[in-house]
């Protein structure tokens, strides 16, 4: 009998779902002399099925198992060893008929090719999967031809704005300076986004190798990875990876026998969303308050400590090795003409297959949601998908044929953003969502520009009173005026895009705003102040369950008689609604 390879997905989301317990059970099992080769890997992408274990090396071939119970894992491994298939409902994908094959079929993995495959803490594992071959090839090329190749690939910045990466590199390369820096922006702050976390946790070397190649091409000898402190595992994996790369001579002096030297450091963020903006990020690396500065000068001319600096997002860096190894031509075969390649998205919210996906550009949104994402989580129908976080917007059902590329998404009023996609169903109130994002940007505004500092505050106040039923019709015009002024009067991307969630919801869901203002009603039943709980006389059997739960004793009625809620006393806590077993209480 051959040794069975057992891989456990131990990224942050896997661990939160209990994967560590599964790993410990397997580790104890291995110690008893069982013929298994236990390995750790990171994010496999199907977060909704965590904990995930992959078995291979047996006659059944490779099998991925989902929602693995620590109490059953040994049995599953033993069965696999004997060639017995586990129950169909836990097999996720691969050769056999499995429930999620369709989810994987629509994907194309460049950035995530090693995630969930290799052990992210092992540089040898990365090398076995073609790691550091792109660096070797790049070092044999002229720096200018590397930049030409990246330009020819048409790669655009994956942080959201979509500027040509090759162009950006040539701007920094052109500068004559003794000292230049490259920076990786891993300050993934958008709520609802976890692409960069998963990439760094799952394949840190791929990002590091991309940065070394970029530094060589642009003539930089020092680099920083600016990572959020909220991502402890990503930071730990990066530290291990940098140390290993230094030992192997991929980082440090005279890399791989060439004359090129490069040092890489990690800078931990300290909790400020605005630091994702490149000028603020550099201020933060310099140890100052992370407030944006006026451009020009652009970082390519004067960045960190006044030196020419090139900043790219994690996902952008993670594309570089593939392009060098496979050529710009191959890269252009994927995606669309103006947006070649793939895009990683973090699917979350009311979708069945929440997790990490990588799809070719040009795929329609509806295919992402209904094919790759497996459709909606519950019976409630699709209402909108939020793209681009607090800088983005909500795309309604009528626009689901929109294809994913920078220009098409921009046309809807949302932005591609870094890749967070939060799916919302009819149980989500769009005014509440707009208020949620405004609350976020208002908290995170650094306060430098007046319109961003005070304008977002005023917008938040207006949205709050609308959700409380105290809005007036003129408020809609006020929101639109404030939006225009904030966009015009802000220095950086945070302020310039802050009104987007309000503008897109006003554009596509204006009737919901009007329902809140004129009818004092929240159609989705979310805004507490506008809710009304009523007992449906036909369904009430007089069990008294609701009256006993009511914290303010505002429900009256005798046993086996229809009960009544006193609307004047009701605090709209919803306890009665949850307590009723006969669906006799309406909420709306």
């Amino acid at each position: 009998m051959s040794t069975i390879r057992v891989k456990v997905g131990l990224a942050s989301c896997g661990v939160a779902a209990g994967a560590m317990e599964v790993y410990h059970v397997l580790a104890d099992y291995e110690k008893t002399g069982a013929d298994i080769d236990l390995q750790k890997t990171a994010c496999i992408g199907m977060c909704f099925e965590e904990p995930i274990v992959e078995l291979s090396g047996g006659e059944l071939g490779k099998l991925s198992l989902g929602k693995v119970d620590p109490a059953q894992i040994i049995g599953l491994v033993e069965d696999y060893q004997k060639g017995v298939l586990p129950p169909a409902n836990i097999i996720l994908a691969e050769k056999h008929n499995a429930k999620h094959n369709e989810l994987l079929a629509g994907q194309y993995r460049i950035v995530l090719r090693n995630c969930g495959v290799i052990d992210p803490k092992s540089i040898e594992d990365y090398e076995d999967h073609g790691g550091y071959t792109a660096l070797k090839k790049a070092l044999s090329m002229q720096p200018a031809s590397i930049i030409d190749e990246v330009k020819a690939s048409g790669l655009r910045g994956r942080g959201g704005a979509g500027f040509s990466t090759g162009q950006k590199w040539s701007l920094a390369a052109r500068e004559k300076a003794k000292k230049k820096y490259v920076v990786c922006n891993a300050d993934e702050g958008d709520p609802g986004a976890f692409m960069d976390r998963s990439t760094l946790e799952g394949d840190p070397h791929n990002v590091i190798e991309g940065m070394i190649i970029g530094a060589y091409a642009m003539g930089a000898d020092e680099g920083y990875i600016y990572c959020r402190a909220e991502y402890p595992m990503a930071i730990q994996h990066l530290k291990i990876a940098i140390e290993a790369a230094e030992k192997k001579g991929y980082l440090g002096k005279k890399i791989m026998g060439s004359d090129f030297s490069f040092d890489l450091h990690i800078k931990e963020g300290a909790g400020a969303f605005v630091c994702g903006e490149e000028t603020a990020l550099m201020q933060s690396i310099e140890g100052k308050r992370g407030m944006p500065t006026i451009r020009p000068p652009y970082p390519a001319a004067s960045g960190l400590w006044g030196c020419p600096t090139n900043i790219n997002n994690v996902e952008t860096w993670a594309n570089v090795t593939w392009i060098i190894n496979h050529s710009a031509n191959e890269f252009r075969k994927i995606g669309t003409d103006k947006s070649p390649g793939t895009k990683v998205f973090a699917l979350a919210g009311k979708i069945a297959g929440s997790g990490l996906i990588e799809v070719p550009m040009g795929i329609p949104l509806k295919d992402i949601i209904y094919k790759v994402g497996g459709g909606m989580k519950t019976d409630k129908p699709f209402k909108a998908v939020q793209m681009g976080g607090p800088s983005g917007g909500c795309i309604p059902a009528s626009l689901l044929d929109t294809i994913v590329d920078y220009d098409s998404i921009n046309a809807t009023g949302a932005i591609m953003g870094s890749g967070g996609m939060v799916v919302m169903d009819t149980g989500t109130c769009m005014v509440d969502v707009a208020r949620f994002f405004l609350n976020f940007t208002q908290n995170e505004s650094c306060g430098k520009c007046t319109f961003c500092r005070i304008g977002t505050k005023r917008m938040l106040e207006i949205l709050t009173r609308i959700t409380e039923g105290k809005g007036e019709m003129e408020d809609i015009q006020r929101l639109e005026d404030l939006s225009t002024n904030i966009i015009k009067g802000s220095l950086c991307g945070l302020g310039q895009t802050a009104p987007n969630p309000v503008l897109t919801t006003l554009r596509y869901f204006r009737d919901e705003y009007i329902a809140h203002i004129q009818d004092k009603r929240c159609p989705a039943g979310v805004c507490t102040s506008l809710l009304k709980y009523e007992i449906i006389p036909d369904k009430c059997i007089g069990c008294t369950a609701c009256a006993r739960k009511c914290p303010v004793s505002c429900i009256s009625g005798a046993v086996k008689q229809v009960h009544v809620i006193d609307q004047d006393k009701c605090i709209k806590c919803g306890a009665c609604f949850k307590a009723c077993k006969f669906d006799a209480i309406s909420k709306g």
């Binding site: 989301c13 939160a16 709520p191 609802g192």
Partner: protein, 158 residues
């Protein structure tokens, strides 16, 4: 409570003479003392000849820096988009009730727990999520909060 500021000397020595150090320096100071007290900031300012206004400016800009004493365990409630649409508010209410926190309080009177909100923990597929110290708990319901807190209160997790 009187703090032993000489504990900071080793940290200060490590960073002396380097550039761009203020944030990691303050992170280590906070790690050692639990929070950034007025005295600690003044001590760093005098030792390294950094204007105390610069130190205070950085300390108040970043949400990670705390100017008040914190509880032994830090509970972070994720307020990201996915958690927001999955009733993160209900989770927060359950935590406040369970910890017996008043409206303006974020630390329990026995200094065991501090409750705070964070923008996004990046575990959106497991929403709603909270993080207690370095451990993330996902797919929560208001009912599941009690059991999690008990592990910490009883000292099972320390």
């Amino acid at each position: 409570m009187e703090q032993d500021l000489t504990l900071l000397d080793a940290i200060i020595a490590k960073f002396r003479g380097k550039h761009g150090i203020l944030i990691p320096l303050l992170q280590e100071v906070q790690h050692t003392l639990g929070y950034l007290s007025r005295d600690a900031m003044r001590y760093v300012s005098e030792s390294l000849q950094i204007p105390s206004a610069d130190i205070y400016g950085v300390a108040t800009f970043y949400s990670m820096f705390k100017l008040k004493a914190q509880g032994k365990h830090i509970i972070r409630v994720c307020k990201g988009t996915a958690c927001h649409v999955s009733d993160a508010d209900g989770i927060k209410e359950a935590l406040r009730t369970e910890l017996g926190l008043g409206d303006d309080e974020d630390t329990t009177s026995d200094m065991k727990f501090t409750l705070m909100e964070v923008a996004c923990l990046g575990c959106c597929s497991l929403a709603p999520v909270i993080m207690v110290d370095d451990t993330t708990y996902g797919t929560l319901t208001p009912e599941s909060i009690k059991g999690i807190l008990e592990r910490y209160a009883s000292g099972e997790e320390s």
